[in-house]
């Protein structure tokens, strides 16, 4: 297939060629960035919370005073344990996808000259680590005598678990076991490393910080009360147990306020946490589909016009011996050249848009891999869109050449 005649024919239709090229370039740029954003949202939505989600529910109480906290803990504990199907009830300050309650900056030195980052402190009573189903990759879980009393926010000098991601951030390449860090007016010693435990608000911090959690064993008391983790024997029972748990609270603690917004299964909290990301992903997919549809229509419209306009020339070529395949390939080559031009322009535009987004929305740089994907999609789209007009062109009989019009 010769490219020269295609190019010189396009030179006769500069304006139309330019328009369709620009349309494809813009479509390519938006396509690459939209795909990249979808991938970002999907990976955020697949954050590993590190807990045994299908078996876990959460009950949050409000409107009680710290003076009555121990009594409340005892009553709720016994009340919830009576529900058939409940394996354990433990006191925790929050759960993944619950309210973000205890974030604080930490440092590797007591003077706090250098802030090493803001992390989430999960304070949790005995049994919580087992109930959550935390997976330890190094070290050990806290012993029963290591659950300290909370004075203000956390027990003093606690023995804690940290996630692998946080350990790698604080001590890159080192064994974190036995290491000490400072924060919330005290220090912490690491006895174990967790595979995963996401922050309650995993997307609320910078990229790569979703797993910056510290698990602090603590005795339930005035500063650790009213927030309970329920683990059931069989996940199938969870919804029933949660309904009964909400009813049980009204019986055992009629004067406190059950936080209906937070008291749900962890699965539901997670689903709700990502609802805007889900909506945005659906929207982006919809935009991409509409975009490709409109672009294809543009190609079909323009190609049909060109076919109609050149039917006489096609007839002459056929009369001079060109096969149907030659005519078909002519229009396919033409489309390929136009789409390629659009893609080249589109890639530059894609990076431009990405730079703009990086500046305004703290999006990471567009990885190179999205460009060939975008190019491939548009090439395929272009060939599919031009197929029908090109086939119609190849059907033009040679006799057209002999007609005067």
């Amino acid at each position: 297939m010769q490219i020269r005649p295609v190019l010189s024919a396009l030179r006769k239709h500069r304006l139309a060629t330019l328009l369709i090229t620009l349309e494809i370039a813009l479509a390519c740029a938006v396509l690459c960035n939209a795909c990249f954003m979808i991938a970002g949202r999907l990976s955020a939505m697949h954050v590993d919370s590190g807990v045994a989600q299908p078996s876990l529910g959460y009950i949050k109480l409000q409107g009680f005073d710290s003076a009555t906290a121990n009594d409340l803990n005892a009553r709720v504990n016994s009340g919830l344990r009576k529900i058939p199907g409940v394996q354990s009830v433990s006191v925790v300050n929050t759960v993944p996808f619950g309210q973000s309650t205890a974030n604080a900056g930490v440092s590797l030195e007591p003077s706090f000259k250098h802030n090493a980052g803001v992390v989430t402190f999960y304070t949790a009573g005995p049994g919580a680590a087992k109930a959550l189903g935390l997976h330890l990759v190094a070290g050990r879980l806290p012993r029963p005598d290591e659950f300290g009393t909370i004075n203000k926010y956390v027990p003093d000098a606690a023995q804690v678990l940290v996630t692998r991601a946080l350990a790698a951030h604080l001590w890159p390449g080192e064994n974190p076991l036995g290491k000490v860090f400072w924060g919330i007016g005290t220090h912490f010693r690491i006895i174990g490393v967790l595979d995963h435990l996401s922050q309650p608000d995993p997307a609320g911090f910078g990229p790569g910080q979703a797993q910056w959690s510290v698990f602090v064993p603590a005795m339930p008391g005035p500063q650790l009360a009213g927030s309970y983790l329920i683990r059931v024997h069989r996940p199938a029972d969870l919804d029933r147990v949660m309904t009964q748990a909400r009813a049980a609270i009204r019986k055992v603690a009629p004067n406190v306020v059950l936080d209906l917004d937070q008291s749900h299964t962890i699965g539901y909290l997670r689903h709700r946490y990502f609802r805007t990301d889900r909506a945005m992903t659906e929207l982006l997919v919809g935009v991409i589909a509409a975009l490709l549809g409109i672009t294809a229509l543009g190609i079909v419209g323009l190609a049909s016009f060109w076919v109609a306009q050149r039917s006489k020339q096609i007839g002459i070529r056929r009369a001079l011996g060109a096969t149907r395949g030659d005519i078909l390939r002519y229009f396919q080559t033409e489309n390929f050249l136009i789409v390629t031009g659009g893609i080249v322009l589109g890639m530059v535009l894609a990076y431009g848009i990405n730079l703009l987004l990086m500046r305004h929305y703290e999006l990471p740089r567009l990885p190179f891999v999205y460009l060939p994907i975008g190019a491939l999609v548009l090439w395929v789209l272009g060939q599919l869109a031009v197929l029908a007009p090109a086939l119609r062109a190849s059907d033009v009989p040679p006799v057209v050449a002999t007609r005067s019009v």
């Binding site: 328009l19 802030n115 203000k152 805007t276 929207l283 703290e362």
Partner: protein, 441 residues
């Protein structure tokens, strides 16, 4: 002549009904997407206090305690208790109000309902006149109530409807935690967008700022009274060191109180800037502050500083306009094809005496016709889009509606887009040489 062009345009559009439908559809979808997102942007980035926002300011000082290192020397988004109360007590502004939020347990002894948790705004009497808060029943408390730590409250119309069925509840009692307070005022429905006086920390929100558009608090109480009523339940914005008792933030090294002031003249604004600068210098001299940085933004500056419009909404607007641009290129291409296909017809018209301008305006009339129909379709799609946004689970869903200005913008945009799309092809069509066309006929 225009009526004739209109007739010609209609006939031509009917001739290629599929192509026409495609062009109308492209414009309608593009306009629908662009106008839906633009309307949401317009509603979320508006001025919550039209005509007054230029006089409302948010003074800040860097209250980092002397001897503390580890944070950059900039004012935090809120003030510590002492600085806030010092500045408020000075009464150097035309009006001033302290604000702090806390969750509180509320019971209405008369309604016999279960206790509920609500957010309480602790503020001072200046809040209501400064922000022109509308009252349905009763009125705000007096400055004397602030200092006298009176047990009074103002409630929202939403809460009044829930507790008292919308009746005049002034004089009734509420139980806030363990303290009985008397209702002195009930607000008329009040829905500032955003809930501007609680905006802070937006730059740390990673663009997830939809919560700035939630409803107002349901209970408003005098600042100093509420410190006693709800002691132990206040939440810090940030702390330089841990407070002695969680939730008890008076005289703690924490930033948790906001101060809003009204300054009516440029001279007063200037004087107030000097006043807070002097205050910070004085506090440093006394050994309380580490730095002397101060900042005072106007309401709209503060909203911009906090990036109040959620980044998802902005992203959607960008996407919609990129989409509209693609629709535009598409329409230009299709119109060009359509007009040039009629080159013979145009050649005849030109040969019969039609001027270039006549051909141009005839083509443009046809393009405008497409734009008008597309705009109508776009309007319907915009209404559909806004209906979808209204049924989404976002704090600003109830704010979303199409106002008159946006309705006009929709049609102007549709017409503009199609005329823009039509200009280039129409120009090309008007430059068709009649002789060449006639020869091939």
């Amino acid at each position: 002549m225009f009526a004739y062009y209109l007739q010609l345009g209609l006939r031509s559009l009917r001739r290629n009904s599929v192509l026409t439908a495609l062009m109308v559809l492209a414009i309608a979808v593009g306009i629908g997407a662009a106008m839906t997102t633009l309307t949401v942007m317009h509603l979320l980035s508006g001025d919550p206090l039209p005509g007054r926002s230029a006089h409302i300011f948010y003074p800040q000082v860097d209250a980092t305690p002397a001897g503390y290192t580890g944070t950059p020397p900039h004012p935090m988004d809120m003030l510590d208790y002492r600085s806030a109360v010092d500045l408020w007590r000075a009464h150097h502004a035309d009006r001033q109000a302290l604000v702090a939020d806390s969750p509180v347990k509320l019971q209405a002894p008369e309604s016999k309902g279960p206790p509920r948790m609500l957010t309480m705004l602790s503020t001072t009497a200046g809040f209501f006149p400064m922000f022109k808060v509308p009252f349905q029943y009763g009125s705000a408390w007096t400055p004397a109530d602030d200092e006298g730590r009176a047990r009074v409250a103002v409630i929202s119309s939403y809460l009044n409807n829930r507790l008292f069925g919308g009746a005049d509840s002034v004089g009734h009692m509420l139980l806030l935690r363990n303290t009985a307070v008397r209702i002195v005022g009930v607000l008329a429905p009040w829905r500032p967008s955003p809930q501007f006086y609680d905006v802070r920390g937006g730059r740390y929100a990673q663009g997830n700022t939809a919560s700035f558009y939630s409803r107002t608090e349901d209970v408003f109480t005098p600042f100093f009274s509420s410190l006693q009523i709800n002691d132990g339940h206040f939440q810090q914005f940030s702390c330089w060191a841990m407070p002695k008792k969680p939730g008890h933030l008076v005289d703690s090294p924490c930033a948790w109180v906001g101060l809003w002031v009204q300054l009516d003249t440029p001279a007063k604004i200037h004087a107030y800037r000097r006043f807070i600068a002097n205050y910070a210098r004085h506090q440093k001299a006394l050994g309380r502050f580490a730095n002397t940085d101060t900042r005072m933004m106007s309401l709209m500056q503060w909203l911009a500083f906090n990036h109040v419009v959620p980044s998802n909404v902005k992203l959607q607007a960008w996407l919609a306009f990129a989409f509209l641009a693609i629709c535009l290129f598409n329409t230009v291409g299709l119109l060009l094809a359509k007009f040039l296909r009629r080159a013979g017809e145009i050649g005849v018209r030109r040969a019969l005496g039609a001027s270039r301008g006549a051909v141009f305006s005839q083509c443009l009339t046809e393009a405008g016709l497409i734009g008008l129909v597309g705009g109508l379709g776009g309007l319907l799609l915009t209404l559909l889009g806004l209906w979808i946004v209204r049924h989404q689970d976002t704090p600003y869903a109830d704010l979303v509606h199409l106002d008159l200005s946006m309705l006009v913008v929709t049609f102007v945009l549709a017409l503009l887009v199609s005329l823009l799309a039509g200009t280039l092809p129409a120009l090309r069509a008007s430059r068709i040489a009649p002789a060449l066309q006639l020869k091939t006929l």
